[in-house]
Amino acid sequence: MVIEGPILEFHQKSPKPLRVYSAQQSKAKPQGQKTLALLLFCVLSGIRISNFPKHRAYDQVFFLCTKTQSYSPPSYFPWRCVEKILKDDASEEKGERARMASFVGAIAITDLVKTTLGPKGMDKILQSTGRGHEVTVTNDGATILKSLHIDNPAAKVLIDISKVQDDEVGDGTTSVVVLAGELLREAEKLVAAKIHPMTIISGYRMAAECARNALLQRVVDNKENAEKFKSDLMKIAMTTLSSKILSQDKEHFAQLAVDAVMRLKGSTNLEAIQIIKKPGGSLKDSFLDEGFILDKKIGLGQPKRIENAKILVANTAMDTDKVKIYGARVRVDSMSKVAEIEGAEKEKMREKVKKILGHGINCFVNRQLIYNFPEELFADAGILAIEHADFDGIERLALVTGGEIASTFDNPESVKLGHCKLIEEIMIGEDKLIHFSGVEMGQACTIVLRGASHHVLDEAERSLHDALCVLSQTVNDTRVLLGGGWPEMVMAKEVDKLARKTPGKKSHAIEAFSRALLAIPTIIADNAGLDSADLVAKLRAEHHKEGCNAGIDVISGSVGDMAELGISEAFKVKQAVLLSATEAAEMILRVDEIITCAPRKREDRM
């Protein structure tokens, strides 16, 4: 029902006006006493009027009052309390409201990713708005959050920390968001109980420090014992993978990941591990291959198999070599001249190929295209020529074979060639690939992923990438913790102790921190469909004993010994989760005002 023309719109049942159209929009000015009264009502009762900034509403009321002269506004009407300072569409939220907006945003994000946490976490389908409406199925926190388009600033902070966690340690992207969200959820209660945010922050800081120390005391470091360390890595890999799509074959993939990382010998350069995805087969058929696989075909008429290959990796134009001098162009006055120049061009190419051949190679890989003519020349010389390898492929190939990327070919003696024992064409599924084995740099290897569909493969790659990241970080920082909610319980216990010792309001905040930590095992249990209240209480009782290894055993649905079950997590990941979650929560808590600028106007290109 609409009354008073275009100005106010009411819901049928509720007496509150739903919208008041701005004068600009409806091209009309509010008239009459009734409108005035309603407008006043809206302004004074704080109902937000869409498309109608506050100061305009005030102006309007003022305008009407002077016009109708039948109604004088109440003396408490805030005539000048809100002057127009900001631009028209900008908005400003203050104090409690600002805090509420950020709490709500952050908690909404947390609830969104919460269900993906833990080994029994669920996946999400993400559909892009781009052309083709591409679909991604994932339970990787960072991937989910990255693809969300969010307007709430607090939520953006959370998305940002999950992204950083992904870049820095590769795993724990969901946990960090969930922990930050839980911290804010607890903070909200404290704020409601009239505790100042600054007090909460200082409490949280103390608690985070204490929790970190608690973890440091309980870490296991098997750096000395290579055998044990390897089994640690294996356990970490399995724990990481168990929450992903690969959990069916987690042993297989854990082995793959550990082998790949061990080959790196301590470097964190994950570029040396190449992941190739080929649809077809099942996940079990995935394998690790030493050496390097290039997803290209071998040119026609060229050898399919080369032993003791000498490889020249190049980045040069192998089509018609252009003259790069600016402004040069060909101008001829007869057909015969054209033929001559064409001949010269051909000659030039032939010379180039000859120079390349002069390097004494039997394999030539180029980043750019190789045209038919030079390809033919290469085939004639019995050389394997591979064209249009992408930039990453070239760099990686140069890295693993130990050659250099060449662009000029005048001094064959000083160009470093790459070497490998065997180049051959192999078939995976129905694609032909080129396999370089016996390469000089032993670090490199390739993992070939097989699976039923592209979605499965993409998700498998993400999971494997997580595992590889964690493992490579663990190789450098060998400290290991148990998993399955164990670290959270240990931290919560210590933080609780601290809360009891601390006098003053801070202790409430510290206590809240411990509750937030407990939320993680609770969510893991909930996601697995277990009775979380019961389990977490049991777990806490277990942890009351010194040196307890108890955690949640999701498979059997009970409290179990994590050391026996072989569930481990890397200390570095847990520490990063703890610190960045606290930092993010602190950041959001400190805010007492949100100012949103008017969105930039898109120019209409229609």
Binding site: C81, E92, D167, N315, S407, L579, C597, A598
Partner: protein
Amino acid sequence: MALAFDEYGRPFIILKEQDQKTRLRGIDAQKANISAGKAVARILRTSLGPKGMDKILQSPDGDVTITNDGATILEQMDVDNQIAKLMVELSRSQDYEIGDGTTGVVVMAGALLEQAERLLERGIHPIRIAEGYEMASRIAVEHLEHISQKFDFGASNIEPLVQTCMTTLSSKIVNRCKHHLAEISVKAVLSVADLERKDVNLDMIKVEGKVGGKLEDTELIYGITVDKDMSHPQMPKQIEDAKIAILTCPFEPPKPKTKHKVDIDTVEKFQTLRLQEQKYFDDMVQKCKDVGATLVICQWGFDDEANHLLMHRNLPAVRWVGGVELELIAIATGGRIVPRFQELTPEKLGRAGLVREKSFGTTKDKMLYIEHCANSRAVTIFIRGGNKMMIEETKRSIHDALCVARNLIRNNSIVYGGGSAEISCSIAVEAAADKYPVVEQYAVRAFADALDSVPMALAENSGLQPIETLSAVKSQQIKENNPHYGIDCNDVGTNDMREQDVFETLIGKQQQILLATQVVKMILKIDDVISPSDY
């Protein structure tokens, strides 16, 4: 509206399209302006002091900034009102001049406006108020000089400087590791400072940030970092005793600015042109090599062929380095920027003890460190932190700390912080007010009241009873005749700011009072506002 009539009673129009403009004049204009100014001050008021809160600012493109730096908040607020814009300018000029106290100056101006409004209501003419404020500000500034103290530090004894920077940093989100950051800032400033001339060129300090790691990993690098990597993946990642050629010409065949064409019409020409082209590249690389450079830093891109030739001759190179960075590198390494290959000479090369490439995290991010430079005065502060907003905020905080350290080196007079200087000034101004026999007396007294509002806001933000605390501190100052008593924001247990080591620079404080007074005077003098109407 401005209507005038000629002798026949016909109206003539003074303002163009005047019915489409709104106009405020006289006392209404002043009141509207004052309330706009106050509204801006009110936004910043909660950000003042060590327990001040942050603001989230969302830019037109949806980017989020979280900060409690006054200048940044106002700058990003997208203000529309003219008077509010004046306040923004005010905070910006404090930022340019002093670099710190950007929130305080706005809060001060807001308080002055508030007092002025009351005086206006009592019928005092705005000009008289402005005059009174001017007098009062002079008294306050002189008094500050009087209570200021000299502050001793040297290149070896940096602890006092670090303390001052810590005061600045304690109001920011980075206060968790304020000591570490303060130390870095002081060391950075000292290494670029010219203690003889008492001058510091802050351009020599570059503040870089990269997401990831912990805030504690923030480090000071005696050299330059460039967010670039070697142009060829296989160039050496570490060069010792590098001689650096700094070029602003691309490794490409020349492109004359005049239009020209090279016509190829015979095979010979085609071939000579080809040879020519090869020679170009060869010459360019050879020239760099000839002067003895071991590293080439270029503002432009390289052709593939040139890139390989460089690599081939074992001459590492960096491409697409920005102009500012290039200049910094030139300053740091003592080299000259060379715009043409022909002008390369050995003297023009820069020198650095160590150039290395460092990679971060699991992504492929790489940065180039140029360290142990010939002129080691250029330094870089490299910030690490949990997320992008954190880094941005740390950058701003460090900028403030750097400015404070610089101000102390320029002029080592200090006043004590925590609102103590304002309270002391307020007492002095109040006492002086009674000596004026004219109307201005009221304005001077109002100024004293306005000065009280800064410590009041501090107390409010720290969760103390503002009026109670302020009056207690004030009486303590008068009773013991000690201007060092301030608001105990951090709940340390003592009011004496000297014991708490909380102080600010004298010039910063003086500037705050002078700037705020100036702006308020300007606002008070406006009596007519004409703006295009909304409707």
